[in-house]
Symmetry: D2
Subunit: 154 residues, 4 copies
């Protein structure tokens, strides 16, 4: 169950939007990712390393690390959108700083700049081993606001 | 079975290296991705859209698109490495140009510049629908050559 | 004088728009950059190496290479915009593949995907020495369409 | 005159290395950029807006913003290198968050992860107007360590 902080700016509804949207992301379920925190402008997603999401050396695959980092950045942006407005990732860049291995992989997404059309968010990804965290990746994403006329909301 | 072109530069062994490495990528199996082509400096990986790899609107999740695009770029680089030298992605950037939907998602990775320490590769990702292809994403990656002293080869 | 190809899509006016806009870019004049080609979706900008645009080892500074690559990508996008609509760079990524040195540095910008709100363009940058060209950098940019209400056109 | 903090890790010599290297960057002089701070892992470069570094709407050109952001990131990395080891930018990505305009443009570069071969650094760029600062750009760069055998040091 994600920890939640009330979001005065949109009446607390963003919790439900994001939880419901996350549950519809089949890939998050397939990877075994979980929502750990939802706050205005800040979302945390967690992954547990396993052979099912590995690359050839046994580390978590960069694609799985990127998937939770992108989703954390996107949902961080979504927490700041008005009802009826969703977001799509238009591009992102990730630097892979160290192998993704440990007990948990934790992506913390935060909004850097919220705009009417474009929002920029970053995710820091940490590998947690015996309670200690190490920064293993840094993602910067541009999200575009989209609405009902685009057929896309949550 | 991937189509293969003989690789004079390293005695054709890169086919086996890459096939074997790909089979050890648990994430590729989990996503249902397949190797479709291995040539010197060029690797193609294919994904079939399904609910298991979707985002919240039913399209293929950017994380899954990125995973095959990153692997295709990395394996394209690996085809040009000497035996005993592997590659690791150090960073990549992807532009998501259109929703990932259709019959097949095809990532074509190519080496742009091969270097002793760093290799730059790009993957173009296409969505194929009724035999027609549309460019949906463009990834640029930097791969670092790593060897036995790093504990990493294939 | 830039070579120009008639642009049926907007009555050939994009030549004048781009030439006039380029002349207002003080930085291009300061760097000594020149417009070499304007076609629909394709713009070429050229720089001559000199001490005034160098980095500490005597090569052309990455900032100068980036400046012409970004402008070439942006103007390539602008050639496809309707009158009254301009573009702004929202982000770009550049891979620096080899030192920028030689007789001329040539940035060739091309549109990859034109959209209503966002356009993605790439610039390949070549160093030309004794008539031979070598790829030295690759830039991918996202341009946002902006209009009169934003106070920005050409 | 840049403010300097003693750098115990390499005997304080990095100040002189960086000041001397900066003075050899012809582009920094051409742009009118100045070194404002050198500390271990942290370098600040400042630019004063003028017509000579403008784009077509009168803002500071993204190329000039990028030039100081790239140099600040690179010099931040250089502060942590051993004597005899230099750095080269291999790639960077910048998000342009707001127009570059005001009294001063300030790029603050910081090392995110220092490595034997690759170092990742970020620059935040602020526009300062009447003493107030606004974040206008965010750059992430990968620097490669290079040595005497590459013919490149400072």
């Amino acid at each position: 169950m994600p920890r939640v902080t009330a979001d005065a700016s949109n009446g607390g509804s963003s919790l439900e939007r994001i939880r419901s949207s996350f549950e519809r992301q089949g890939l998050m379920r397939t990877l075994g990712a979980t929502l750990d925190l939802i706050e205005p402008g800040h979302v945390v997603i967690v992954l547990r390393p396993s052979a099912a999401i590995s690359q050839q050396h046994g580390f978590v695959h960069a694609g799985a690390v990127t998937a939770i980092a992108d989703s954390a950045a996107g949902y961080a942006a979504l927490t700041l959108m008005q009802p009826g407005i969703g977001v799509l990732s238009t591009e992102f860049k990730i630097n892979l700083l160290a192998p993704a291995t440990g007990d948990r992989i934790i992506a913390r997404g935060r909004v850097i700049k919220a705009g009417r059309t474009l929002t920029v968010a970053q995710s820091e990804v940490f590998a947690q081993t015996n309670g200690e965290e190490k920064l293993i990746a840094l993602l910067t994403a541009t999200l575009m606001a989209v609405g009902a006329r685009d057929g896309i909301v949550d």
